[in-house]
Symmetry: C2
Subunit: 590 residues, 2 copies
């Protein structure tokens, strides 16, 4: 039962379900449903898919996540960045809007779902670590800019294409003369209204006496007002005849049962995009889920989240949808509206199902410019210029990875952008791991502490050198270690003893062990004895399984303080006996 | 002048050149020349190339390395593993022995040379770190087994092909019935003789009164005796008529001037093999050069070695050769024979040039079985079963990478073998970096030391928890850090203060900083104050450039001992004032 509950969290929260929780969940579901209807249509359009696909992607996937997911407030469905990635990936194999394009979107959802499930079962959630915060943040900012730019064409009522900025901007600029004036009026008005709703409406409602939370939720329903007013305007003034493009007829139906095409070549072409999309979606979703869980001291399990999102995507692929993930905006609304359990998600799904069955005729005259305005206002909140500044001040390496992600995403495309960010982060990490920090240290007078001779006034002895290595010793820095230690010795003619202070050495791998053996051997040829101090427990356990400790010319000391005292005494004794070290003393046996 | 000397080390050693050094160099060159003639022919044959190509690859490349290399004893030329890699790479685009195959070998040498030069100029020598000791050792052992097996066909006088063991063994076994008896006799006799020379001759000569060094060098000349005797046997008994294959006519000429073909498609196909071959050759060569330099307290510069080897390979590509690197056996002979400067290499090149011009007619009747015997005896010394056992005992992760390299190399091929080893090492490294070691620590009674509560009897306080993180905090483990810290807190209801002991934290990147901020925030929500202790200088410098220290709920302490005392006092004060912490006290300002 407990093991089963790990894979089916519903068994856990389902037991405590009662009428109070039900009421909270129902209220949250109603609010989220109202918000989701225009958003689902808009994101499907952004992905190059018919609008109803957005509704379908918000029904079964939510049920699937409610069964397998661990977050209580996460709302799964179409999101902006994943829609953009779907557009890019499916465009590489078919023309947007074509039946092949819709088929490619289903395959992407299935592949992504299977990959997420596999990663969850194999507990490969740690792979998401390869995306650092700056890379993800840079990617989302760049995607937000691309998405907003791509929607400007719908505000102007013109054609423009391209998935990276250079093409997007040039096709957009060249089509400005074809601008449709009524479309522009609707688009600009809707955008301005939505920005005002976001910034100005809530303070106004609070001033009018409404408590902050309801005021906030009412402001979140702004898009519905824009949808209603602009649809009525189109009908009242027959704007369609004047060239205003509208959503058109949406079939009234349950989500269709779809079977993704199996075509090995197509799957092969879509595999890498599906993987990138899965990982980006997972990272986004988990960070939203973690933020919300922490607020209520709940916990989520990242490996189980992979299974929840995987199931949601597989469900999307069999019900006419496209790739989905946990969205930030909708999850926050869900949480703020008081959702207590994943059942709120299920109720939302029922709400959207009702919309798909009965409300779509009302949306036939909805202008596409209004949907574009919704997208623009939503994604501009993703664009973040503050984080790059802070990262720049904190770490140039992280900033380099972030800028590479932003620039490659903007100039080349979303997939190369993610890959460039991950590759550069990894290369910088490996480069740093291969040139670790190390310091010559000496004793801080009157203490047992040893500090960097360059940063502190410390006591040293010309016959004894202590090197503190500030990194685990691995194959990446084994060669560096040999070079660094032997250089220090070459520059110190009086030197007789070298202490490697290992307080920051958390592991020594087989390559580094070979280098330590080489160092011990070469120092011995040079008449220098090698000692170790402050070796950590697990490292010492490993060394004891090798021949290194037998070959070591000096001793291993528990503390650097004891090492320094003993070794200075040894050097004194050697000088007294005319430079001939007492072998027993040198091995620390006296 | 000094800057120039960095790129042209000859300007440094050339100044001190005198008659004594000249004599040493000349003697060493003569010995190495005698050893190199049969070896060069044999390795060219192993690479699927005409025998003279081996001689050409031992002339100009040596001059080029003598100009640019930093090792004084390294002998550059054809080596076994690189010959095998050349065979594999060139076979993928042409049939061994064909003119296209020879052209491919020239392209490989040029590409490899240009890549090494580029890495040297860009100082990318650290990329060679990606090959760990166990991977290189496993690769060389597996290559040795493949090479030895591939030569058995020449001992039997049969045809067999394949670059990985399964095909090699099956074609060999099926051709056993075609064994040529005279060839087998020569092959087995030569192999047995060479093994005896290696193991038994030197002790015999020493017993006969010869000093050890000349005895050793004389034993190294054994292959020449095998070449001479077997050639004479072929001529005396007309064994060619009985089916013994011989080297045949070798053109008597200077190295030809060759221009590698430029064909973008072919270059594209050979680029990855050339890169692998370059890095394997560089790693091998540098470790030989470092070992020899350390014996005489000389230094080599790895980045300059890239330039030396790059120049040697470019020279090979323009003089009818094939990829070369610094060989272990020949370099050791050169060193033992007393080579003092790279001039010894230049003299060796002149010796081989003389051989190419005048001695090749003597080699026409040399049986190929003798060359195969030379290769088998040489490469079996590369096969090492001791290291895998030691690595197994020391580290399972390193052993896994090593075995993957050995098995994939044997079963699939040399290039997949190297790639599998590098990829697995990297994956294991990243996995470990993403799950670092961390310990709850307490004070060792009567000391200022804090140790793992699981390994030592230590003093702790239920209201104060100290976590020592044994790794740098990076994007790879940022998520782990959040989960680990919050789990500890969830399991300790009495907890009021958490100290992160950062003595082993050598860096905190932007992702980890964000996680630290999240931890600080969430702990504060849970009524737990966060403190840091023993933060290293460079890490503190970085933290001071962020907002973290302003937001930190607790203080930063120089030593863990001071931190523990202050925080326990703080907890006592809080209890006395009925749980309400004094804000000034909590910020460490009292």
């Amino acid at each position: 039962m407990r093991a089963l509950a790990r894979y089916l969290p519903i068994l856990e929260w389902g037991r405590g379900y009662n009428r109070t929780v039900l009421t909270s969940d129902l209220v949250a579901a109603m609010i989220v449903t109202i918000m989701l209807i225009p958003q689902s249509l808009a994101y499907a359009m952004l992905a190059g898919l018919p609008p109803e696909v957005g509704l379908y992607a918000s029904i079964l996937p939510i049920f699937a996540y409610a069964l397998f997911g661990t977050s209580r407030a996460l709302a799964v469905g179409p999101v902006a960045v994943i829609s953009l990635m779907t557009l890019t990936a499916a465009s590489s194999v078919a023309a947007p809007g074509s039946p092949e394009f819709i088929a490619a979107a289903l395959i992407l959802a299935l592949l992504s779902g299977l990959m997420l499930l596999a990663m969850g079962i194999l507990r490969l959630g740690f792979l998401a670590n390869l995306l650092s915060h700056p890379v993800v943040s840079g990617f989302i900012t760049a995607s937000g800019i691309i998405i907003a730019t791509s929607q400007v064409k719908s505000l102007l009522g013109v054609q423009a294409s391209g998935q990276a900025m250079p093409e997007l901007v040039s096709t957009l600029v060249s089509s400005i003369p074809q601008t449709n004036l009524p479309t522009l009026v609707i688009g600009v008005a809707a955008t301005a209204f939505l920005f005002w709703v976001r910034k100005g409406l809530k303070p106004l409602l609070v001033k009018a006496g409404l408590p902050p939370r309801p005021a906030d939720l009412l402001a979140k329903a702004g898009p519905i007002a824009a949808v209603a007013v602009s649809t009525l305007a189109v009908i009242a003034f027959d704007l369609e005849a004047q060239g205003v493009k509208v959503v058109g007829d949406i079939p009234q139906s349950l989500p269709p049962f779809t079977v993704p095409l199996f075509d090995a070549e197509l799957w092969g072409k879509l595999a890498v995009p599906a993987l990138l999309l899965s990982i980006i979606g997972f990272v986004e979703s988990v960070s939203v889920a973690q933020t919300l869980a922490a607020k209520k001291r709940q916990r989520i399990s990242p490996d189980q989240e992979l299974i929840g999102l995987g199931a949601a995507n597989v469900a999307a692929s069999f019900s006419g949808g496209y790739p989905v993930t946990g969205g930030f905006a909708r999850s926050v609304v869900n949480f703020d509206a008081g959702a207590e359990t994943p059942a709120a998600g299920a109720f939302t799904a029922i709400g959207i199902l009702i919309a798909a069955l009965f409300l779509t005729p009302l949306l036939a005259s909805l202008p596409i410019a209004t949907l574009a305005a919704t997208i623009i206002v939503a994604v501009l909140s993703l664009v973040d210029f503050k984080t790059p500044r802070e990262v720049f001040r904190y770490s140039r390496a992280d900033f380099a990875a972030m800028m590479a992600t932003i620039l490659v995403t903007l100039l080349v495309g979303v997939e190369p952008g993610v890959i460039a960010g991950v590759a550069l982060s990894l290369a910088l990490f490996l480069w740093r791991a291969s040139r670790p920090h190390a310091a010559i240290v000496g004793r801080v007078p009157e203490t047992e502490h040893f500090r960097n001779v360059k940063r502190h006034k410390v006591f040293t002895d010309p016959r004894v050198l202590t090197i503190r290595i500030d990194e685990s010793l691995t194959y990446l820095n084994a060669r560096w270690l040999e070079e660094f230690v032997l250089e220090q010795v070459a520059d110190a003619p009086q030197l007789r003893h070298l202490i490697l202070m290992c307080s920051a050495v958390n592991a020594i791998d087989a390559s580094a062990l070979e280098s330590m053996e080489a160092i011990n051997h070469r120092l011995s040829d040079a008449g220098v004895t090698l000692h170790l101090s402050e070796v950590k427990g697990p490292v010492m356990d490993a060394l004891e399984r090798s021949h290194f400790l037998d070959a070591l010319t000096g001793s291993v000391f528990l503390s650097q303080n004891a090492a320094f005292d003993a070794v200075v005494a040894l050097a004194n004794a050697e000088e007294a006996s005319n430079g001939e070290p007492d072998p027993l003393l040198a091995r620390g046996m006296i």
